[in-house]
Amino acid sequence: MKKTATIILNRNLPKETSLLVDQLIKDNNNYTDVYVVEGGSDKNNLSKYCSWHVNSKEVVEHGMRYLRGMNYGLLKLWESEDWKKYDSFFLITNDTKFPNKQNTIKILRELLEEYPRVGLISPCSKNWGERDLIGDNSIKYFWFIHNNAYFFRKELVEQLINTDNPTYMNFFFDGNNFRGYLSESEIIAKTYANDWSAAITTRVFSEEEESYLMDKNQLIKTESYEENLKLYVEEGLKWVKIKYGFNNRWQMMQYSKLFYEKFFEYYPKEKINKI
């Protein structure tokens, strides 16, 4: 049976990362292999589950962030024989929290089987307004999903990866958008443009532990929460302007919604999951 490759990005929080890996293995052992990308962590701050330690000068100084970190992990797998072992990828940051004893990956895998046109699924959060829209124990397709826990079908990933001189800057996500503001809309637009849907499910939940960035930013060796937020928006808007000529988030929203609406023209049976 093929498995899911779970890739976790860590930077200088070994204890927290190891606890997350322990929980994932405990609750999902038969369904996933877990890989940890250390994005410029200090040598004495590596998780015991470290798979790859990226320690170039730039990465040590600035970190990798979600897009570059996930590109790195995916590329490493693609370059190895291991790529063949997997049929899906779960890409999460180390501040992701799952409820105890939740068989997250098993359930997400089941959803991919049950919904063959779903290319990407995000677990819902107990604190999201989308929860009411989706209903209990259900799934709906969205044109906008703001999260750091995405479960990808391998077929979709293989349609999107860049195999021409791939690096951690360009393999799957666009690493030029360092902090990733608006990049989630780009990947969702690409998902629908390639005849897949992007879903949120309430069958499993995940939460973002914001306190890591708020209280442990010095330990992580990154900017303060406020500074990070400011740069996140500034850099994202600059990126979207250069790449698409868009000037704000609403243009990006309309762009991904355009492909969302088209998708249902081609796959009318999927309308049952349209919001």
Binding site: G129, D132, Y232, N248, W250, M253
Partner: protein, 383 residues
Amino acid sequence: MRLQQRLENFRQDKNCTLLGVGPMSKNCVDASIELAEQYKTPIMLIASRRQIDSEQFGGGYVENWTTEQFADYVNGKDINKNIILARDHGGPWQNELEKSQNMNLKDAMQSAKDSYRADIDAGFHMLHIDPSVDIHSKPDAAQTLERVYELYDFCWTYAKQKNQDIIFEIGTEEQSGSNNSKEELEFTLESMKNFCNTNKMPFPSFIVIQAGTRVMETENVGSFESPVRIKDELPPEIQIPQMIDICNKYGIFMKEHNTDYLSTESLKWQPRLGIHAANIAPEFGVAETRAFISVLKNNGCIDLLDEFITLSYKSKKWEKWMLKDTMSDDVDRAIIAGHYVFSSDEFIELKSKADNKIKGIDLYLKNKVKESIFRYMNAFNLT
């Protein structure tokens, strides 16, 4: 042409977002009338019951005007009838008197009807039926709808008797309102459709939708401009298109409240997102207060400035606008509360002293409010 048709045609021609301006002061009213005339555009003057109410309730804090006086003033100046006189958040317990007298439901509903009757008598064109406030209990969706029906029926019947063309707005922007989710909105609109069809009344023209805008202090702290999630709220990227689709399906305009202080870039997106109308109020009062402070400062009237700041601060009208972890000082608070004291005897005296020292003070203040309103008109494709 009937008002509903006129607004529909206007929106279709201009692909615009219609503008609702809170009549925060006489200068704000004048600024709206002049801009509406200059750009030949309809502007809704959206008077809350605290701002303007009938004589029975002692008028409101804006110019101490009663409903009739306010309507007479506007009608006297608005020669080409660009202004739409609108009641904002009419309904039981929406006036301080109904709260302070601890009125029961029956009396508060009667009181609201009296206020609406005065609106219709004064020639108001648009009535917002909002019975979401209840000082004794929290009405559920069905109870709220029953109250809407009763007030709607009263207003429509009375306006018909007077052969007056009125349109309606329903809903509330409160988080506890009945139209935040898709299902609740459809339920409200479907129920209204049945009610209006059964009773041969016109369907409401506007419904208030929570679109991620919320005003605190002098900023918009809602999710519309927030790059991160707000707990338990739908991201506006999802909420707004969904709500607009439903409104378009039912042929009703979506009205956004609390649109103050959004960036110009965000405002430009209101018509593009298909938001049919938006209300702005405190920002215009704050614009005038800031202008007044600046003119006193620039002309060396420091004593008057201190007097104004103290008067405004002591009014405590800033209280409901403050953020929990506010960093605002006393002057910031006075700026938030300034327009609430414009009609007090103390302010009138203070202003008269300023008038004696500074020429053309009201023209300056009006122009500053105009600049503030124009930012919205321009972004909303109304110019």
